[in-house]
């Protein structure tokens, strides 16, 4: 389950960045960049908490 979530997260991260590069090369238009990046963002924030480590155990910069 965690491995699957991790793969989905990486794909979502790619979906946030790669469309801008495709826009740069003229492959897609600006609206497609916005829609894909938003989709990637939503998926990233759903899938990443499923596998990313729990909160740090100590605030290293504590006063």
């Amino acid at each position: 389950m965690k491995s699957l979530a991790k793969i989905i997260s990486y794909l979502a991260l790619a979906a946030s960045l790669v469309p801008s590069l495709l826009y740069f090369t003229g492959t897609i238009d600006h609206d497609a960049v916005k829609v894909t990046a938003l989709t990637g963002t939503i998926i990233w924030f759903i899938s990443t908490p499923l596998w990313a480590g729990q909160c740090e155990t100590a605030d290293m910069s504590a006063n």
């Binding site: 991260l13 946030s16 960045l17 801008s20 916005k34 990046a37 990443t48 740090e56 910069s61 504590a62």
Partner: protein, 463 residues
Amino acid sequence: MTTDNQPTQVNEYEREPVPPKAHLGAGKFWGMYAGEHTAGTEFMIGPLFLAAGASIQDLIFGLLLGNLLAVLTWRYLVTPIAIGKRLTLYYQLERIAGGSFTKFYNVVNGVLFCFLAGAMITVSASAIGVPFDIHYTVPEATFGLGAPSFTALVVVVGVIIAVVAAAGYQAVARVANIAAPWMIAIFAACGVVSLVQMEATSFAALSEGKYWSDAIAFVQEKEGVQAFSFWQIVVFAWLCNGAMHFGMADLSIFRFARRASSGWAPSIGMFLGHYMAWICAALLLAAQIKLSQDHSANPGALAWGALGWTGIICVVIAGWTTANPTIYRAGLAFQGVMPTCSRKTMTLVAGAVATVAGAFPNLSAQLLGFVGTYGTILGPMGAVVFVDYYLMKKIGLRDDYAVRVGTSVNLAALVAWLLPVSIGLYLIFAKGIFAAYAVIPAWLACGVIYLALSKLTQKPVSA
């Protein structure tokens, strides 16, 4: 993390050296610095370079050199002392300069934190306001308010951030950790989209830099000719985190480092957050100028123009995850002076101060000057720690003098800090020097004065 009236569940070793069992590998530090330095402030600082008239060549090479110097300062100034003593900055200051002195220093730090958090509240509000057609404008006066609707939005955002911080920032820290890689990707995407919007999609167009020089010309036509030189960029990039490296605040972080090589970890924060992200954020403003002849550096509107809702979400999260721990730490600093008040109460006080600061958009628009001033005020105390660690014993003086003689204020440290800082602030505010230029002279002066005054005033004490 300590919560009110509860024992801390995790030993943070605030008053003892971090033991070997708690030492951390380099990966923790690389992750932490990547997240910590890709933050809401980057959306403000990047465009300010363009607005100040920096050329693209100076920006690319100046930031490269300045960030390299910052990394070297962390690695060779902070890390050796951090792993040599493995104590927090505040505990070291308490031992060197005294408990009352440290509380005073901490409150100054807390107040400055509030202004930084205030800028982040402004940034978040600017983004939230975009879909609601609430405009962010920067008035002429430093303490001028924006539109009433924007001020009201700042208050709402500030209250939410303060209440969440008062509840403890564990959840926000987790969101920040999760968001960090995504934010880096979004910053990069913003920069790439901006280049396309400016039709800079070929090597020739990129290297010619007309997209940038046209934007500079537009700003200067509106605001008058300004210059932000190569060396200003270098010194700013080097010293914008002066409080953390020259000021030794990050002793509190690197005391956990298993090996000194962890001291290279800030390089990821510098070259992603303070290099790539600043340049990308500056490109957002250049693109906005080309598309709409608008040179106002409104982070929300800039990100909206490049990535729509994703840009808005990024600005809000970047601002929120920066403001929240900042307010939390300011609350802790204030509580140190008034221990009878609860941490929650003092965090809400810090949040209120930050919200008031956030209501004045001009304060966030002066972030370039603010971070230099911040380093000038807090940075010099790092020289006291440096002198205490490396030089005191060598010239026959006592290190950790305050704890040895049982004083709550070491006058040598107090004078050594206040004198150069006062002169530095005078030069910044009365003479108008670039704030970051004052950091290193003040640091050196503080170290020399501390050494000289210690030689004159230290009394013999038992070992």
